[in-house]
Amino acid sequence: MAAGPMKMRASLGTGFTDVRVLMTHPMETGLRKDADGKVVPQHFIQNLTVKLNGKTVLDAQISQAVSRNPVFSFRLKGGAKGDKIEVSWLDNHGESAAIETVVA
């Protein structure tokens, strides 16, 4: 499966901004067999980056043990309307995707 859509929601809490991001990705472990008994090759997101107004605030490295169609929630310090949040990922096949949203 190729990279599908992403979705992100940012909401202002008290003293922080809640960020929730959904991404379409199979997160194949390389251990699973398909219906024909063939091993499905490893295919998973390895890096995740969160930027706030262009500056990296969170770098993550993840493994194939993160569930399919990953959902992550983060919290950013403070936050105000108009803040630009960008989340991007890179997988072990070199595919990548990104999404950005503005805090409303």
Partner: protein, 145 residues
């Protein structure tokens, strides 16, 4: 299907091969380690102290090992990283989050667990390491077949 996906990608996602390639550091050795001990060694982590201020919020029983929700947060001052290990998975190291100025040490994610096991979370703060653990039971659900 592909056409739709492409259309969606164009609408929602923009390609960013350039900046990501620069920071595509992924600790292959640590993620390939087969035991929690080896993984920690690869990450350069020696001793870790138990910490009450490191919180794991997870169900004690999960109906399905394919999706186990875990929320981790640290109230240890100066926390710069959170590390998640699933002790009985074939490759225990599951995630490492490095927080820079601007992010709070808080993450919620879903993980896969092969069997009932401890989740071990480590926090790095001021060059020291802390840990917390919780057991999560994995059950079989629903009808067979």
């Amino acid at each position: 299907m592909n056409r739709i996906r492409r259309a969606l990608l164009a609408a929602l996602v923009f390609a960013i091969a350039r900046p990501l390639a620069a920071l595509a550091a992924w600790n292959k050795e640590a993620f390939s380690a087969k035991t929690p001990g080896e993984a920690l060694k690869s990450l350069g982590i020696g001793d870790a102290a138990p910490a009450k201020d490191l919180h794991i919020e997870a169900p004690e029983i999960a109906e399905n090992g394919a999706v186990v929700p875990i929320e981790i947060s640290s109230a240890i001052p100066g926390t710069t990283a959170l590390i998640v290990l699933l002790e009985k998975n074939p490759f225990p190291l599951t995630a490492r989050f490095d927080f820079k100025e601007g992010a709070l040490p808080f993450v919620k994610l879903n993980v896969k667990m092969a069997e009932t096991a401890d989740v071990r979370v480590l926090a790095e703060a001021g060059g020291k390491y802390y840990f917390a653990k919780q057991e999560i039971k994995i059950t079989v659900g629903g009808c067979g077949g």
